[in-house]
Amino acid sequence: MLSRRKFIQLGAGSAVTIALSGCSTSSKLGRPAAPASPSSSSSSSSTIPQPLVAGGQRTLVIVQLNGGNDGLNSLVPADGRYRDARPTLAIPEAELVALKGMNEWSLHPQLAPLSKYWDAGQVNFLPGIGFSDPNHSHFVSLDRWWRADDLTAPTGWLGRSITDGAVKPLYATALGSAAPMLIGDHYQPAVVLQPASFTFPKTIPGDRLQTMTSPLSHDPLLALAQRSLASTIEAVASFATVKDSNVSDSGGDVPDREGGFDLVEGLDVAARLVIGDVGARIVVVSVGGFDTHSNQLATHKVLYDDLAKGIDGFLTTVAAAGRADETLLVTTSEFGRRVGENASGGFDHGAGGLSMMFGPMVVGGVLTTVDLGNQLDGDVRPVLDPRTMYTACLDWIGADAAAALGKRYDELNLIAV
C-alpha cells in the first residue's frame, strides 16, 4: 500500500524513485525472519503460570558454530577408517590431545584447553548428533535446529519456552545471527552485533525515541517497528550496566566473523551478561566460518583456537563469580561434514555432527557412538536426535520441554539435575 505512490511515480517515468523506494532485502528463503504479527492481543490463553526459571539463576548459553562444523576433526575417532577416508586431512596421531581413560576418541590439538573439563567430569561429547533423514542444505538444517524440526512454527525452540511476556529485555539475548531460535509468541530477543557500540548516540536522547513508541499504530509493520524500538531502548539501558567500557569493537580485524566478534569476545560479553544483574538467562553466541569446503586444516587451527579459548575463558569467568553450578553451556552446528575429504582440502556437507555440553551438572563422557562402518551415503549416520539435548536444556532452565518440543525426548540422560 505504502509503496503505491512510488510505483505510480515510476510509471510516470521517474526512475529516481526506484532508488528511493528502497532496496529492501526480504527473506529469500520464504520463511518468516521474525514473527510479524503483533502479540498485544494474545490468542493463546495462558494456563497455570509456571516459574520461568526453576533454579532461580540457572542460565543456558548456546554456542552456535555456523556453517556445519566437522565433528570428526574436532573429537577425533581412533577408528582406522577415519584415517583411510582422510589421507591428507586426518589430524596426525602425534598431535592429538588424549582424553584420560578414553581410548576411542581424542581432541584436536587446538582444543587442548578443554581437556581439563574432561578430567573434572564437566563435559560431555555427543558425536553423531543430528536429525534423522538429514538434509544437506545449511538453511533447511539450521531451520530444523532452530525450530526443533517443526518447520511450520514461527517460533524458535527456546523462544517458545518463554511463556511470560514480562521478562527482562535481555532475558534471551542473541550475540550474532542465531536470534530465530529465541523468537517466541510472547518474546522478541535482544540482538547485539557490536557490544561496544550498543548505545544510542548522545545527539538523540532515549526519551525522544521513547515518545515515538506509543500509542501503537494500527499498521502491524509500523507497530512492530515501535515495539522493537521500545524493547531496544530497555535492552540498551540494561546492557550498559554490564558493558566493559575498556573494550572497543574489533572492527575490521576479523571481517569473516559475523557481528565482527570472535568467540573469545562474544563469550566474554556472554559471561558478563550471565554474571551481571540484568536478568539474562539465555544467551546465544554464534560465529561463522565452519563451512570448510576448502583449506580446512589451516582454517580449523584458527577456529578451534578461538573456540577453546572462548569456552575456557567463559567458564573461568563464570566460575570466578561463583556461578559455575548454575551455568550450562552447549555447542551446536547445523550438520557435520562428509567422512571423506574432497580435493579442495576440505569436506562437503555431511549429516551427523558433534555437540558438547559443559558444566558441573552435565553427565560427563562421550555419550554417543559413531560407527564409521555404518555410514549414511558417506556421512556420519545421525545417532542422537538434537531434541534430546534440547529436552535437557529446557529442563535445566525450568521450562516445559514437552510443550516446547511437542513431547519430551528422554533417550539419554545428559544432565544430572
Partner: protein, 337 residues
C-alpha cells in the same frame, strides 16, 4: 548508489548481489568482488540464463563457492548445490543425485588471481555425460545452464524472489502471474521487472522493512548528508549489513530481522551522523528546523507524507534542526517503505 544517475541498474545490481552471494572474506581479492558487481550492473536487466552462466564462471563466485578448486577427479559440491537451492530453483526442486552430477559437469574452472580471470582447463574437467535435473548428456557449463533453464521451478523461484524484494509479497496468485510473464519472455529480467512495477502500480505491493544499506542510501539522498567512510562502515557493521560481506551464501536475512535491537541502535547512530552532515539549504533539514512535520515527511519522500501522532509528538519534543531530522530518519514511517 547514493549519487547514481542510473538507479534501476544499481538497484538490480544490489538485488543480484544479495541473491548470487559472494563475500569478500572468502574471496579475499576485492577486485574480484568489484568485477562481480560490475557483472550485475551489466547484465542484471538482461536475459536470466546468460546472467546465470556468467555468475557460474565468475571468478569471485568460483572462489566463494569453491568451483576454483573443483576437479574432475574430485568435484567440489558447494556451488552445484547452491545454484539449485538458492540461486535458481529452490529446495525440493532437485534431487541429491543432481548435486554430484552438476559438480562433475562444472569441474575444471580455474581462477587466475593475478589478472582476475577464469579459464577452463580441460584436463581438470570431467566430461562424462551426466543425468542432471532429468536431462541426459549434461557435461559442461552450457548444458548445466540449459538444464536449469528447462526447469518449471525456475520462473516461480526468480519471480518470487523479485516479488518479495520489490512488492513485499509472496502471494501465490501474484507470483504465479509474474512467473508466467517471466517464462513467456524467455526469462527476460527487464520483462519481469516491468511486470512487477505494473503490479505495484496496480496496488499489489505491501510495505517492506528497509535493510540498513538501502535505508542509508535513501537517507543520504534525501538529506544530502555525507558521512565519513569510517563512521559509515562502523554503523553498517553494527546494523548487520556491509556491502560485499553478506553473512552466508543465503545473503542477508531481511524482513523483520532489520528490527533487531542491534540494527535499531546502529540506525540511530547513522541517522544522527547523516542529519548532522546535511547541508543547511537541504529541504529536509529546512523543514526539520520548522514545525510543519507534514512538510518534513514530504521532503523525506514518504509515500504517505504524514507521521503518526506518536512520531509527531517525538518530533515536537526534539530540538529543531539536525536532531529532529535524525529522529525522523529513525521513525517507523521512514524505516518501513
Amino acid at each position: 548508489m547514493v549519487s547514481t544517475t542510473t538507479p534501476l541498474v544499481d538497484r538490480m545490481a544490489w538485488l543480484w548481489h544479495g541473491h548470487f552471494v559472494s563475500a569478500v572474506d572468502k574471496v579475499k581479492i576485492a577486485r574480484l568482488m568489484v568485477d562481480q558487481i560490475r557483472l550485475f550492473r551489466r547484465q542484471g536487466l538482461g536475459p536470466f540464463a546468460p546472467l546465470l552462466k556468467a555468475v557460474t564462471i565468475d571468478p569471485a563466485m568460483l572462489v566463494y563457492l569453491d568451483g576454483a578448486t573443483s576437479t574432475g577427479q574430485h568435484p567440489n559440491e558447494n556451488f552445484s548445490r547452491e545454484v539449485m537451492e538458492l540461486f535458481a530453483l529452490g529446495v525440493g526442486n532437485y534431487s541429491e543425485a543432481d548435486v554430484p552430477a552438476g559438480a562433475a559437469a562444472l569441474s575444471g574452472w580455474r581462477v587466475r588471481r593475478s589478472v582476475g580471470t577464469a579459464d577452463f582447463v580441460v584436463r581438470q574437467h570431467d566430461d562424462t555425460p551426466q543425468t542432471y535435473l532429468g536431462q541426459s548428456g549434461v557435461h559442461d557449463v552450457d548444458s548445466v545452464i540449459a538444464a536449469i533453464a528447462s526447469q518449471s521451478a525456475l520462473a516461480p523461484f526468480i519471480a518470487g524472489t523479485l516479488a518479495a524484494e520489490f512488492l513485499g509479497t509472496s502471494d501465490s496468485a501474484i507470483v504465479g502471474s509474474l512467473a508466467s510473464t517471466f517464462a513467456s519472455s524467455s526469462f527476460d529480467i527487464t520483462s519481469l521487472v516491468t511486470a512487477i512495477l505494473q503490479a505495484g502500480v496496480a496496488g499489489s505491493g505491501q510495505a517492506v522493512v528497509l535493510a540498513p544499506v538501502p535505508w542509508l542510501v535513501i537517507a543520504q539522498r534525501v538529506t544530502g548528508g555525507v558521512i565519513r567512510p569510517k563512521v559509515r562502515l562502523a554503523g553498517l557493521r553494527a546494523a548487520g549489513q556491509i556491502p560485499m560481506s553478506p553473512p552466508n551464501v543465503a545473503g542477508w536475512p531481511g524482513g523483520a530481522a532489520w528490527f533487531g535491537s542491534s540494527t535499531v541502535v546502529a540506525r540511530a547512530g547513522l541517522a544522527s551522523a547523516v542529519a548532522e552532515s546535511a547541508p543547511s539549504d537541504n529541504p529536509a533539514l529546512v523543514a526539520a528546523t520548522g514545525t510543519d512535520h507534514a512538510a518534513l515527511a514530504t521532503s523525506l519522500g514518504l509515500p504517505v507524507p504524514l507521521f503518526s501522532d506518536a512520531t509527531n509528538a517525538a518530533l515536537d519534543a526534539a530540538n529543531p534542526g539536525p536532531q529532529r531530522l535524525a529522529l525522523a530518519l529513525c521513525s517507523p514511517e521512514f524505516v518501513v517503505a
